[in-house]
């Protein structure tokens, strides 16, 4: 290597050294340490690498995934809560973001800059501040209940109501659902849906993230060439058809991104629980991320906490892969190819 090239190589390593050190030390190494802790019986005192700490294999994992104790039940509850949260938030925030982007992008709307700012502003604020706001808005005498009382609906005491959405007004559970359990809670509980308290958090999530994703969709929409849309218009396609057949398919990459980011984000909800309800009421806002934190930092069960974190990691990976598979580009079917070819020989 010539002297100039060697100097350049040295600079290259020097320039990237801080990044490598910081990210390696505080992102890569922690994962390895946590893997060890999740397989050990460390109790938070001294170093996890000392000789007092022993390898216990999958014991921590077994405690959460089976074992019939409180650990299993808490984990099952947390999983159920977060699952419903994901199921509601991801489609909602994606749809709302796309809708807002379409609204702001349309040429007929005046003052687009103002609307873009208004819709994006919640995303800039801290989750702590918004949660404080939410606790006030959704209190039993709060603004939300006041507004819906204008249409005659008596609002619940949101953050203190543990009943699941799908259980509102339901009677006694059928025996087959109530008697069989998975991860410590009955199937009846699994199918309860998010609790009313969790629903308030769902609305919070849509409120704060739709703006960010709206920007992603906006950027994509502005990169679309108007030619295809015009051709469809000339062919007589109505606005709805044009949206589903022309615009949306071209947004597939952005949709992918928004869904992936949404999945990754919703499975990790922590700040709002820590600030607002800390798992209450009746553990219906408990989430795996928060449970991991409390198991380790409060109950000093570091192995269990680390195990929960890794299971969460696995869940996120699985969901992301599932989503990629579900939205993959499918080859055009033979029947459709023939129909397309027939149409071009006019």
């Amino acid at each position: 290597m010539s002297r100039k090239n060697r100097a350049e190589a040295v600079s290259g390593w020097l320039f990237t050294a801080p990044t490598i050190i910081v990210l390696g030390l505080f992102l890569a190494v922690p994962v390895l340490m946590a893997a060890w802790v999740s397989l050990s019986d460390w109790h938070g005192v001294g170093s996890p690498f000392s000789s007092d700490v022993s390898f216990v294999g999958g014991q921590n994992y077994a405690k959460i995934l089976g074992g019939g104790g409180l650990d299993e039940q808490n984990f099952g509850t947390a999983l159920r809560n977060n699952l419903w949260y994901v199921v509601f938030v991801v489609p909602l925030q994606t749809a709302v973001a796309l809708g807002l982007a379409l609204l702001v992008n349309g040429r007929a709307l005046r003052g687009r800059g103002f609307f873009r700012t208004a819709f994006y502003f919640p995303s800039v604020t801290s989750s702590v501040a918004i949660t404080v706001l939410w606790l006030f808005l959704f209190s039993s005498t709060g603004a939300v209940n006041k507004i819906i009382s204008w249409v005659g609906v008596h609002g619940p005491n949101w953050f203190n109501e543990p009943t699941g959405l799908f259980h509102l007004g339901a009677g006694n559970p059928p025996a087959v659902l109530a008697d069989h359990t998975m991860l410590g809670i009955s199937w009846w509980e699994w199918l309860a849906g998010p609790s009313v308290a969790m629903t308030a958090f769902i609305l919070l999530a849509v409120f704060t993230t739709s703006g960010t994703f709206m920007l992603l969709f906006l950027a994509a929409l502005q990169n679309l060439s108007p030619d295809i849309d015009e051709a469809a218009m000339i062919d007589g396609a109505g606005a709805w058809t044009r949206f589903w057949r022309i615009t949306l398919p071209q947004l597939r990459p952005t949709l992918f991104t928004v869904l992936t980011l949404g999945l990754i984000g919703t499975w990790q909800i922590f700040d709002q629980i820590y600030t607002g309800t800390k798992g209450a009421p009746a553990n219906t806002t408990l989430t795996p991320a928060y449970l991991s934190y409390t198991s380790a930092f409060q109950s000093q069960q570091w192995g269990v906490g680390a195990a929960i974190a890794f299971i969460l990691f696995g869940i996120i990976v699985v969901f992301t892969l599932l989503q990629r598979w579900a939205l993959r580009e499918r080859p055009v079917s033979r029947r459709r190819m023939r129909w397309i070819e027939k149409g071009s020989v006019r």
């Binding site: 990210l23 505080f26 992102l27 807002l100 502003f121």
Partner: protein
């Protein structure tokens, strides 16, 4: 017969091109837009308005303007809590993290964009891999490392792990790649070393990206919560996020004391709001994947 008028109005997007007529369609869209904007802005109106009420007024009439405007909540906030300390800590952390990220992210971004060294591809791949690890999963592990390094409960533990962020390196790298190589070649011909070329020639040309990094880093460090939870525990090191979170769980004695909590939320949002309004074009145009969770 399709409406070709719509097709002919389709012009290339550009500033200042507005439809001249106030069509029913544009009125309808405006109404929809305003309705949604009201929903998005109402929470902030409610927060500000209720921060200036008495406790009772806020509980009974959450939507109305205050019957009497009072700043008692703000006074109580600054006197009965450590709000001043929290602010100081948030400022310290935000300043150091922002400066650090500007410096280190642009260094690494430049190296990955322009400098040839063996292993450059590996470093880049590792960067992408690191971005894939979900943040909250690292909560416990980061504490373990910080603790082992003896940085727990200190400013270094709060600041150092945040000094670099992978997304920022990406943004800088992408921007540096768009600067013409001829500029650097000219500098080399004039005898400038690598760092000199970077610091005095290329970095000033990357001003838009640097401004973006500045705002995003400030926002991220000001609004950060989980990292401060695991990196410190003494009251003297509490930041605004941790402090206001403790307020929300009722650390200021009994009673619903909403005005005080709302005042806290309001004041802590002011810096990021100001930064946002000043630089909004910059923030809203950088959809380079720096997304907040």
């Amino acid at each position: 017969m399709p409406d070709l008028r719509a097709a002919t109005v389709a012009q290339a997007p550009g500033p200042g091109r507005r439809p001249r007529r106030l069509t029913p369609r544009s009125i309808a869209l405006l109404v929809v837009g305003i309705a949604i904007a009201v929903v998005y802005l109402l929470p902030f109106y409610v927060a500000i308005v209720n921060a200036f009420k008495t406790d009772q007024d806020a509980s009974l009439h959450p939507l109305a303007l205050p019957t009497t405007w009072t700043a008692a909540a703000f006074g109580s906030l600054f006197q009965n809590s450590d709000f001043g300390i929290w602010t100081m800590n948030s400022v310290i952390v935000a300043v150091f993290v922002t400066l650090g990220r500007i410096f280190f992210d642009s260094l690494a971004g430049y190296a990955l964009a322009r400098l040839r060294f063996r292993g450059r591809q590996t470093v880049f791949a590792a960067l992408v891999a690191v971005m894939a690890v979900p943040g909250v999963v690292l909560l416990i592990p980061k504490f373990l490392v910080i603790n082992q390094l003896g940085m727990y409960d200190s400013y270094s533990g709060m600041i150092v792990p945040l000094l670099v962020d992978a997304a920022g390196v990406f943004i800088m790298k992408n921007f540096f790649e768009s600067i013409p190589v001829s500029v650097e070649e000219q500098a080399k011909i004039d005898g400038a070393g690598t760092f000199r070329t970077f610091w005095s020639i290329v970095l000033p040309m990357a001003r838009p990206a640097v401004v973006t990094i500045t705002i995003l880093s400030f926002q991220a460090s000001w609004n950060e919560l989980p990292h401060f939870i695991v990196s410190s525990s003494s009251p003297g090191l509490t930041t605004l996020t941790k402090g206001v979170a403790s307020l929300a769980s009722g650390a200021l004695s009994a009673g619903n004391q909403y005005p005080v909590k709302l005042a806290a939320a309001f004041v802590m949002t002011i810096p990021v709001a100001v930064a946002f309004f000043v630089f909004q074009k910059r923030i809203m145009n950088s959809s380079d994947g720096a997304v907040k969770e």
